[in-house]
């Protein structure tokens, strides 16, 4: 075993890192832009140089790179302080869906500006009545000539307020069982009847929205897949969700925990010398290293041209609760001052408090802890699904709470 690149991988890494060294923006003018503007400028720069959506075919704006090359690129790019990625959902989840289900004309029209960051996309799936049970969604579309008319409400839509387009799953036939009555469209987020309301989260931020649809007309040509095939199309999007959401547990890692434990005291000695504190740190490191080396095993599979196994599905299920537990414990070590969120006064500029308040969201987004555990139990271990009381029943006869 070794952690080295193959010669081809090393050449690719060198090419990527030298382009980044020359091109990554650092100037003041760039920093003065809003985060979204920064992201768009950087994405367009990458696109023009052939470093956007690496795995996509060249005609869609990519370079047909292998999965391992995409990973190498991400590793190299992550070494720079670059703007947040506003395109993850569009490029990570919706792009692959368009490739699989859209007409050639729509692929040619929409994929290149999605790759270049000139058009931003959002995903309109969850509803107030259907979160974990996504297929219970109620937003309906009714046929009217060559158009469909959409009425209903979506929720938890990340980035709806700055998106140009969205993909939406709607109910086109309420008289058949729930998975069979769905269809999948793309919509213009600026169309008449689309109303976006930000949701204020418990953190005070607003990353998500409610999106209301009132008599929104979409052309039948905006349908992906057949009428009634919306669930299968949704699965294409959802299969790519892990890639788009995973990672990202911020700076809450063992080195931060050790740094706090060096700075605070227990009974006149650094907390770092306390056995109970050390046991916690060891356990977090076991989780962190376990995820890191699980990633290395997956990379090896990719490097050999194989698909990674199901072991990758544990990332969010381990990482999000760990972020919550670690931030909670570090605040405990800080004592009463652990409550201070003011970045100018708080230890570590308040990132621990922000992590603690943000962690509940990560345990829910993109599949709750409970749904992730079900997925492992059912798809990896082969355990049966819970019996479903709505199975085979027309959607409009299913009991609702």
């Amino acid at each position: 075993m070794d952690f080295n690149d193959t010669p081809e991988e090393a050449r690719f890494r060198e090419e990527a890192s030298s382009w980044l060294a020359e091109s990554a923006p650092t100037d003041e003018a760039f920093r003065a832009l809003t985060p979204l503007e920064q992201a768009k400028v950087w994405q367009k720069q990458k696109y023009d140089a052939g470093w956007a959506c690496l795995g996509w075919a060249p005609e869609f704006g990519g370079r047909g790179a292998s999965a391992i090359e995409e990973v190498i690129w991400r590793q190299e790019e992550s070494q720079y302080d670059l703007p947040a990625n506003f395109f993850l959902i569009g490029q990570g989840m919706i792009g692959p869906t368009l490739m699989a289900w859209a007409s050639d004309a729509d692929k040619a029209r929409f994929l290149p500006p999605l790759a270049s960051g000139e058009e931003v996309w959002c995903q309109l799936f969850s509803e107030p009545a259907g979160g974990s049970d996504l297929a219970a969604l109620r937003t309906r579309a009714e046929r009217d000539g060559d158009d469909w008319v959409i009425n209903g409400q979506k929720i938890w839509t990340s980035g709806a307020h700055y998106s140009d387009y969205g993909v939406i799953v709607v109910r086109t036939d309420p008289t058949v069982p729930k998975h069979k009555g769905l269809s999948y469209f793309y919509v213009d987020m600026k169309a008449p009847g689309v109303e976006i309301k930000p949701i204020k989260q418990l953190t005070g931020d607003s990353d998500f929205n409610e999106v209301y649809f009132t008599d929104v007309r979409v052309s039948d040509s905006q349908r992906l897949g057949e009428v009634g095939q919306g669930w299968q199309v949704s699965l294409t999007t959802l299969m790519n969700e892990r890639a788009a959401i995973g990672g990202g547990f911020g700076q809450m890692d063992v080195s931060l925990a050790m740094s706090v434990a060096e700075e605070v005291e227990i009974d006149g000695r650094p907390a770092m010398q306390d056995a109970a504190v050390r046991a916690r740190i060891a356990d977090w490191y076991v989780q962190e290293a376990g995820l890191k080396y699980t990633g290395y095993r997956s990379l090896t599979a990719l490097s050999r041209g194989a698909l990674p196994g199901p072991e990758n599905s544990i990332g969010k299920l381990v990482g999000a609760p760990k972020m919550q537990a670690m931030s909670s414990y570090l605040m405990d070590l800080l004592g009463a001052s652990g409550a201070i969120a003011d970045g100018s006064l708080a230890a570590k500029a308040g990132i621990i408090q922000r992590a603690y308040m943000g962690a509940p969201g990560l345990r829910i987004a993109g599949g709750t802890d409970e749904i992730m555990a079900n997925i492992i139990a059912e798809r990896v271990l082969g355990l049966p699904q819970e019996p479903r009381l709505d199975k085979g029943i027309p959607f409009n006869e299913v009991p609702t709470g």
Binding site: M1, M258, R278, A289, Y293, T300, A373, I376, V380, Q385
Partner: protein, 371 residues
């Protein structure tokens, strides 16, 4: 990135699994647990014929001179079958100590016979309850004579020689002590895992030679334990995988309230947790064996990480496997208890979880100070 076993090593795994499935079904574990024997001597013979006892012993001393990658694979399969053998004592610890610290004469005298499985060796460390503290060891060597008491000593009843941690005027030493001699007496000690024999070993002026003819640097012994921690982690991972498989199979076949208990989320989530812990333990065991096989200076961190992860995964899987089985899991008749016994036994050998959590953080501090 090449963080995977080679094809040849994968073949070894298949061969080892096939061999132990055939020669070490659970009935073999059960007969040692139920009977008067402390091991399955004929299984040991077969394992030796497979060359497993010779894996990492150098060819100069009759070994195969293979790497720790191969030994880790065998260790996992040993765990998977809960083999009632003194493999960890003899192979991960005693043979390693002799190979690392012994003089030429000591290596020539013992390693070929250990490689061939003609004899078994063990190590004797613990003397009292609590953590092992080198400075407080009371077993003493004076001249060629050793006196003191070690308890519990795993596999002493089937071993011909023990590497005994002791002190003399020169400081800490590892002494090589043949066990069939007048100055040594063994008393069986009942532990919760009777599929491995344990003894109180009393030395009363026993003939002993100092391994390597010189005092032992405590760091060298710690390094030996790091290696054993990695191999024990692989063995415990095997135990954890069997416990998860048993729980999964039972959850599919056992019905309650008209459906398989594996369809209830309370059971699914328990099994998903086992899978998560086993996956973390496996990936950390990869890290451990990489550091051990490549001689990396990350070994102290990698070994401690692998051991803590494997202790947590194997005890959780063994405990919750029984819980998944309900009352039947608590019976002697079902096999679930084999994995509970062995997982906990191996968790207590060479320092328990808290010891290795502490070592992990020390190694982490040292590594970040060096960076």
């Amino acid at each position: 990135m090449n963080f995977e076993f080679s094809e040849e090593q994968q073949l070894l795994r298949e061969q080892a699994r096939g061999f132990l499935t055939e020669h070490c079904p659970t009935s073999v574990v059960r007969s040692v647990l139920d009977g008067d024997q402390d091991w399955d001597a004929s299984l040991w013979q077969k394992v030796a014929e497979m060359g497993w006892t010779a894996t990492v012993i150098s060819e100069a001393y009759g070994g195969l001179g293979l790497s720790y990658y191969e030994l880790a694979i065998i260790a996992e399969e040993m765990g998977r079958s809960a083999a009632p053998l003194p493999f960890s004592s003899s192979v991960y610890l005693a043979s390693e100590a002799i190979q690392r610290f012994g003089t030429e004469a000591q290596k020539s005298a013992w390693l070929p016979r250990l490689a061939g499985g003609e004899c078994v060796a063990t190590v004797a460390m613990a003397e009292r309850a609590g953590r092992l503290v080198f400075d407080r060891l009371e077993t003493r060597r004076s001249g060629s004579q050793l006196s003191g008491m070690k308890v519990p000593v795993a596999d002493a009843s089937v071993a011909e020689v023990a590497v005994v941690l002791a002190r003399s005027e020169a400081g800490l030493e590892a002494c090589l002590v043949p066990l069939q001699q007048a100055g040594v007496s063994l008393e069986p000690v009942l532990t919760f895992d009777a599929s491995r024999g344990h003894s109180t070993v009393t030395f009363d002026g026993a003939e002993a030679e100092v391994l390597g003819d010189c005092a032992l640097n405590p760091e060298d012994w710690e390094s030996l334990l790091d290696g054993a921690a990695v191999l024990l982690a692989w063995e415990q991972l095997g135990l954890a995988e069997t416990a998860l498989t048993q729980a999964r199979d039972y959850a599919l076949q056992r019905f309650a309230f008209g459906r398989a208990i594996g369809s209830y989320q309370a059971i699914k989530h328990k099994l998903a947790n086992m899978y998560v812990k086993n996956t973390l333990a496996r990936s950390n065991a990869y890290y451990g064996v990489w550091a051990l096989a490549e001689g990396s200076d990350e070994l102290p961190l990698a070994a401690a990480t692998a051991r803590v992860a494997a202790i947590q995964a194997s005890t959780y899987a063994a405990e919750e496997n029984i819980q998944t089985h309900g009352g039947m899991g608590f019976t002697w008749e079902f096999d679930c208890h084999f994995y509970l016994r062995r997982a906990k036994l191996l968790s207590l050998a060479i320092g328990s979880e808290a010891v290795w959590q502490d070592r992990l953080v020390s190694a982490l501090s040292a590594q970040s100070a060096a960076a």
